[in-house]
Symmetry: C3
Subunit: 305 residues, 3 copies
Amino acid sequence: MRHLISTRELSKKDMMEIWDIASEIESKRLHKSSWCLLEGKTVTLAFFEPSTRTRLSFQLAAKRLCANVLPTVGEEALSLAKGESFHDTVMVLDELSDVLVIRHWMEGAAKYASEIAKHAIVNAGDGRNYHPTQTLIDLYTVKKRFGTIDGLSFALVGDLRYARTAKSLLMALTKFNVKSIYIVAPPQLKPHPWIVEELRRNNVRVFETDNLNEIIGMVDVLYVTRIQKERIPDPAEYEKLRGSYRVTLELVKRGKSDLLVLHPLPRLDELDYEIDSTPHAGYLEQVRVAVPVRMAALAWSYGVV
Amino acid sequence: MRHLISTRELSKKDMMEIWDIASEIESKRLHKSSWCLLEGKTVTLAFFEPSTRTRLSFQLAAKRLCANVLPTVGEEALSLAKGESFHDTVMVLDELSDVLVIRHWMEGAAKYASEIAKHAIVNAGDGRNYHPTQTLIDLYTVKKRFGTIDGLSFALVGDLRYARTAKSLLMALTKFNVKSIYIVAPPQLKPHPWIVEELRRNNVRVFETDNLNEIIGMVDVLYVTRIQKERIPDPAEYEKLRGSYRVTLELVKRGKSDLLVLHPLPRLDELDYEIDSTPHAGYLEQVRVAVPVRMAALAWSYGVV
Amino acid sequence: MRHLISTRELSKKDMMEIWDIASEIESKRLHKSSWCLLEGKTVTLAFFEPSTRTRLSFQLAAKRLCANVLPTVGEEALSLAKGESFHDTVMVLDELSDVLVIRHWMEGAAKYASEIAKHAIVNAGDGRNYHPTQTLIDLYTVKKRFGTIDGLSFALVGDLRYARTAKSLLMALTKFNVKSIYIVAPPQLKPHPWIVEELRRNNVRVFETDNLNEIIGMVDVLYVTRIQKERIPDPAEYEKLRGSYRVTLELVKRGKSDLLVLHPLPRLDELDYEIDSTPHAGYLEQVRVAVPVRMAALAWSYGVV
């Protein structure tokens, strides 16, 4: 049994293992029986924060592994309305579950849960902190397209400070020999300096810019994130920021011919709909591989693979 | 793969096909294994509007077909809270699903979704527009009772303008050789003139009245609908209307001996509880056949039958 | 088919039967196939009041019995928003279900439902009235620990007037030859006199006290309940009460060496966290056995065992 808490704690070997399982699951689509790795087991989805695609793809992943799925959504449903502590909620859900998937608005919630629980905890996003299965999906999509992660150049655009998807991805990239990372964000949305230092300590060349046009020709993967309204207190500032980092079809066309555009979704208007029908769009592939990658992550975490 | 969007687009042949499957499913109740027409497939229920019986019976129908069911309820859960467009929500759910069942408060939502999705869309009600599986259930109940739909006389009572169940039923009846249709509604709740014209163009004799007593002796099927509070802006007018079209046991007793009373439910006080225990009551049969008919509709839409 | 409405109506024989099944289920954990007692059947969870552990453990219990589970949560989802009567909601859900599990804020709701439904009703808590499966879990935990219920001494602490778990337990204890029951509650939270009379009529020695220290050495089972905020109108009074009946590790250590501490959960601060890691803590065992006991109750109620 292994907790899956953050991309900081996951090694490159761990990630490669999970991707190998995901790849096998993808190739065996027609051999349903071999998927039932969690038959008779219970996977509980404790989502203390609203979510669609993460919850649904975990739910589908667990069902495809033949697990019983307990989907609990919302704090009210989670009995906190009656004043129960997070400690007790985890303790109780842990008794009912073989794997406990937790999404929480509080940084560190999954880590704290892993100290209480006897069964595997999978972090499905904790506040502004980590969202490791999203990163596993992101990089699996990259690996499927390019055959490798090492040697590639990435640009990350948008909110790189408050978006846990961006933080998780940057931290995971410290484990690979990527060529360069371009940080494209306004000053207040740049990643925390310690993350950039961590990247540089791992010999990644990191460039900071606020001009996408200058660097678009040099990148293999363009990772776009939504500027999260709920993370920016001032509405006026939010409006200004969301306008300034739009990725258009015109921009994408000036990039490499095999440029891969990723987005963890949902998007607002930071990513043009016109890109959807081009081969550059990788975000539907991200949705598509989410289920096999999360199947692999659940099975890996439970310890059957 | 076939979308199931409206009773306008469904042909008589389509409906007969779906009913044949439903009938076969009903007769094979004990042979569970033969039902697993959607084994390993995913049916997603995207309900942007609250619903009990429709959602539950779709959920049960999909489960009985051995599908994985992803029940997503509510706009918040559907990530629209984060500002995602309906387009993107459909695009993402479509990636995860083999059949996507949509209920939405917006007329045309299912149709629009069918233009985005690669998989089958089933309309579970779009605003004041269509609710085709309800009509399939309604007419299947009629066919089970009378062996036919052709040659029968129908009276529709209540809100025939804003209730999508009434609109869907009237539109479906244009495809059959029914004898007569009695429209029993106050002026502001009469069906749109183009629907009545469509009926007449298809050689259905349509009579409009606001007096149920006069025509009760001539009808085979009495279809009662709730006057939908949420569709009538003025509360005073609503109170007046709901009182004026009550169907009582006394009224029903003055009808034909094999009069069939249908109601899509939920009811308020437009239909007396005393009728429940008489052989005239067909609304529990509607609830009962909802699951096999929706199983048939899902299987038909997915394309396995 | 048998309704399971209250511990008043359940006989000692009924309870013993259910526990025998639960015990068999527990011992057969590895033989999954033999659990499928409700294969192809539908269990609907109609929860008109929020709940986590009860709903989740019923859901898991039903799934482990291989039933199709329809989880409906909340009044809005239950179509009451459209003005439907409880009568009609039950009538409709009954058509779709083989067993209907109901939680409701209204005393008597499950009983009323059992008069409408053709299928088995299981009460999952009706207002301040009964919560029979919780009592079955509580006493099963006692029986597992001590091998018997007869001859033991119980202390019940906290809110013994408004908590349905306490009322249900006291009523169930009238069916056994327990030695003594200590009622530890402030005057306004003492049980209704008729329950105490019922206990005494069944030859149970009942002592009332508000001092836990005096009696802790004489009890085998200490049953602690939350003082339910939502049941005490005055916030100031609530604060005073919740402070006065705390069960501490120090207190527990002064009890018998095999003292069993039970709590239906969720807890606020009436039960010290320090007790969790001692052998006295039985509340996690309660959570653990909740699933097999509810499996047994569902199967018993449906009538397959």
